[in-house]
C-alpha cells in the first residue's frame, strides 16, 4: 500500500516534469545553435531586442525607484485601510493582460481619463515607446511591490528601533538597516518583476501596437514572425528561455537569502 502510494507520487512528478520540459526542449531541438545566432542578426530580432531592452530598463528603473519606498511604507506602517491598499496594488496580478491594455487606454488614451490634460501638453502616449514602458510598469510593478512589502514586513522591528535609539534619522534607518537587510527579498522580487516585464505581451499589443523598431518588443516579434518566419520566432523563443534560465539560476545562486537565516542563529547556543 505504502509502495503503491510512493509510485503514484513518482509517476505524477514525472508527468508534470515531462509536460513542462518537453516544449522547452522542443524549441532547442528545432533550432540549431548556429541558426539561433543567425536569427539574432536578423533586423526584426535586433530591433525587437533593442526595444525590449530600452523599455524594460526604463520601466524597471521606475518600478525600483518608486516601488522600494512604497513597499517600505506598506510593509512597516500599520494604518487603517492598509489591507485595502495592498489589495489594490495586487489587482493587476489577476487582470488578463488584454484588460490591462484596455484600462491603460481608458486612462491615458486620447479620449481617456487624462486625455485632455495630455492633449493640452501635446503628449500622445498610445502607440509610442512610452506606451510600452507604461504597459510594462503596469504589469510588472505588482510583482515587485508584493515582494518588497513582504521583505520589509519580515524585518525584525527591534533592529530598526535600535538604529533610531542610536541617533539615526528615519531616512538613515532605511538606507543603512532596512535596505541591506531586505536586499535578498528585494532582489528576488526584482528578478521576478523583470522577467514578467520582458515577457509582457497582451497589454502592450493593445496599448502600444506592434511597430517594428518602435513598439515591437521581443514577445510581439515572436507573434509577428509566427506566420511569416517560424524559425525566427523559434530563435527568439530560445533567447527567452536562455534569459529566463539565467535569471532563475542567478536567483538560486546569489546568496541573497543570507540574512533570512539570522533569526535562527540568534538562538544558537553560546560557546
Amino acid at each position: 500500500m505504502r509502495r503503491a502510494f510512493a509510485a503514484v507520487l513518482a509517476v505524477a512528478t514525472a508527468i508534470a516534469l515531462a509536460f513542462l520540459v518537453l516544449p522547452v526542449v522542443a524549441i532547442f531541438v528545432r533550432v540549431p545553435l548556429r541558426d539561433l545566432l543567425g536569427a539574432l542578426g536578423d533586423d526584426v530580432t535586433r530591433d525587437a531586442l533593442r526595444v525590449s531592452l530600452e523599455t524594460s530598463a526604463i520601466a524597471h528603473a521606475a518600478v525600483l525607484v518608486v516601488g522600494t519606498p512604497a513597499g517600505y511604507l506598506l510593509g512597516r506602517k500599520r494604518f487603517r485601510g492598509r489591507g485595502l491598499v495592498i489589495t489594490l496594488v495586487e489587482l493587476p496580478l489577476v487582470l488578463p493582460p488584454a484588460v490591462a491594455g484596455i484600462a491603460l487606454f481608458a486612462a491615458f488614451g486620447r479620449a481617456g481619463l487624462l486625455g485632455d490634460e495630455l492633449n493640452a501638453l501635446g503628449v500622445q502616449i498610445p502607440f509610442t515607446q512610452a506606451a510600452v514602458v507604461l504597459a510594462v510598469i503596469f504589469v510588472e510593478s505588482p510583482f515587485y511591490l508584493r515582494g518588497a512589502i513582504a521583505a520589509f514586513e519580515s524585518l525584525d522591528g527591534s533592529l530598526l528601533d535600535a538604529a533610531r535609539t542610536l541617533g539615526a534619522s528615519p531616512g538613515r534607518v532605511f538606507a543603512r538597516i532596512a535596505l541591506p537587510l531586505a536586499a535578498g527579498g528585494l532582489g528576488a522580487a526584482s528578478a521576478l518583476a523583470l522577467a514578467r516585464g520582458l515577457g509582457e505581451f497582451g497589454a502592450t499589443i493593445i496599448f502600444a501596437g506592434s511597430l517594428q523598431g518602435v513598439t515591437q518588443t521581443l514577445p510581439l516579434a515572436i507573434y509577428a514572425q509566427f506566420e511569416q518566419d517560424f524559425d525566427t520566432a523559434l530563435a527568439i523563443s530560445a533567447l527567452f528561455i536562455v534569459i529566463g534560465a539565467v535569471l532563475l539560476v542567478a536567483l538560486k545562486l546569489y546568496p541573497w537569502f543570507r540574512f533570512v537565516s539570522i533569526s535562527r542563529s540568534r538562538f544558537a547556543p553560546s560557546t
Partner: protein
C-alpha cells in the same frame, strides 16, 4: 535635579501602564511576569512608544510632556538601549555595530574586552559576547540614561553567573540612571539598587532587594521573589503561636498571628532537609518526597511535593538525595509569614 523622572500613563491592549518613578544615578530593576508592561516602559522612555498622558524628563531636559505637546524623537533622546536578544545589526561587523551611532568604537571594545571580535559579525558570536557588543553599542553615544531589556534572558545557565557579575561591576562603574527590566528576581536582586514589582502595568512594591524579600507587600511579591506559597486555615494555638491547617494536609505553626483563610510564605533557603525528623529547635517538620533536583552552582534547588527547598551543594552531597527519596523538610515558626486572604 532628578536624573530621570517618569510620570506617565501608556495604554496597552489589555490595561494601562501607569508609572510614577524617580530614578537617580542608580540601577532600578522593574520585575514582573511577562505581559506586565515592562518593555513598554522602556519603549516610552526611549521615545518608541507614546504615552497618553504625563511627562518624562531627563535632568532639566523635557523628553515628553503630553500637556505641552513635547515629544522628542528617539534619535533626539540620549538613551543607551540594550534590546531583548540584543538586536545587533547582523550585516555589520561588531566594530560597525558599536560605531553606528557615531564616535569611535575602540575604547569601548577594549573596555568590554571584545577587541578581538571587532571584525566578526553578530551571528558568529556567543550569547555572552553579543551582550557585551550590545552594551558597547548602547554606551557608544555616552547616553544619559541606560535601558536594559532582559539583558540576561538570552544567556545559557553556564555563562549567566559570570556575565551577571561583570554587568554588575559595569553598572556600578557607569553610575548612570539605569532602568533594567527582567522577569527574574534573582537577576534584579543581583544587579539593582532598587527593585519595583510590576503587575498589570502598576508598581506593586518598590524597595531594596532585601526589603522585598524580608517584607513582601503581598503573596504575589513573595512568590515572585522565589518564596513557597502554601494555603490553609489559621487558628490560635498555645504559647502565642498560630496553627495553620494546610489544604495539602499537614498542620504547621507560625509566629505571625491571624485567623481564617491564609497564605503562608516560606523562602526555600529557610527550609532544611533531613532523612529523619531532626531533634532541633525548628517547630515544623513535614515529611515529603523529592520530585526533582536542580544544581545551581554551590547550591541546589530541591523540589518536593509540597514546597521547594534550597540547600548547599555540601548538604546535598552529605544526604545523597535523589528524586523519589522520602525526606523531612523543616523550618522555624519565625521563618514563615502569613497573609490573610482578603474576603
Amino acid at each position: 535635579m532628578v536624573p530621570l523622572r517618569l510620570d506617565f500613563a501608556l495604554a496597552l491592549r489589555a490595561f494601562d501602564v501607569e508609572l510614577e518613578l524617580d530614578v537617580g544615578a542608580e540601577t532600578f530593576a522593574v520585575v514582573g511576569p511577562s505581559g506586565a508592561g515592562k518593555t513598554s516602559i522602556l519603549r516610552a522612555v526611549a521615545g518608541l512608544a507614546r504615552p497618553e498622558r504625563g511627562a518624562i524628563a531627563c535632568g532639566d531636559e523635557l523628553w515628553f510632556d503630553a500637556d505641552s505637546n513635547v515629544d522628542l524623537r528617539p534619535e533626539q533622546r540620549s538613551v543607551g538601549y540594550v534590546f531583548q536578544e540584543y538586536a545587533l545589526f547582523p550585516h555589520l561587523t561588531v566594530e560597525q555595530n558599536v560605531a553606528f551611532g557615531g564616535g569611535r568604537a575602540d575604547r569601548l571594545l577594549r573596555r568590554l574586552d571584545i577587541e578581538h571580535l571587532a571584525r566578526a559579525k553578530p551571528p558568529e558570536l556567543s550569547g555572552g559576547e553579543r551582550q557585551r557588543v550590545a552594551l558597547a553599542r548602547a554606551l557608544a553615544r555616552s547616553p544619559r540614561v541606560l535601558l536594559l531589556d532582559e539583558p540576561m534572558a538570552a544567556l545559557d545557565p553556564h555563562t549567566r553567573g559570570t556575565v551577571r557579575a561583570e554587568l554588575h561591576d559595569l553598572l556600578r562603574e557607569l553610575s548612570l540612571p539605569t532602568l533594567l527590566v527582567t522577569h527574574d528576581f534573582e537577576d534584579a536582586a543581583a544587579l539593582a539598587d532598587r527593585v519595583g514589582v510590576l503587575v498589570a502595568g502598576r508598581l506593586r512594591q518598590v524597595g531594596a532587594p532585601g526589603d522585598l524579600l524580608g517584607s513582601p507587600a503581598d503573596p504575589f511579591v513573595a512568590r515572585l521573589a522565589g518564596a513557597n506559597l502554601l494555603t490553609g486555615v489559621a487558628a490560635p494555638a498555645p504559647s502565642g503561636l498560630t496553627a495553620v491547617l494546610l489544604d495539602a494536609g499537614p498542620t504547621i505553626y507560625v509566629a505571625d498571628s491571624t485567623s481564617g483563610r491564609t497564605e503562608v510564605v516560606v523562602y526555600p533557603w529557610d527550609v532544611s532537609l533531613a532523612r529523619e525528623t531532626p531533634d532541633d529547635s525548628a517547630l515544623n517538620h513535614l515529611p515529603d518526597q523529592i520530585v526533582s533536583l536542580t544544581p545551581l552552582g554551590n547550591r541546589a534547588r530541591v523540589r518536593l511535593r509540597l514546597l521547594t527547598a534550597e540547600i548547599t551543594a555540601a548538604s546535598l552531597e552529605r544526604l545523597q538525595l535523589a528524586p523519589g527519596d522520602h525526606v523531612v523538610a523543616s523550618f522555624k515558626a519565625t521563618q514563615a509569614r502569613l497573609f490573610s486572604s482578603a474576603g
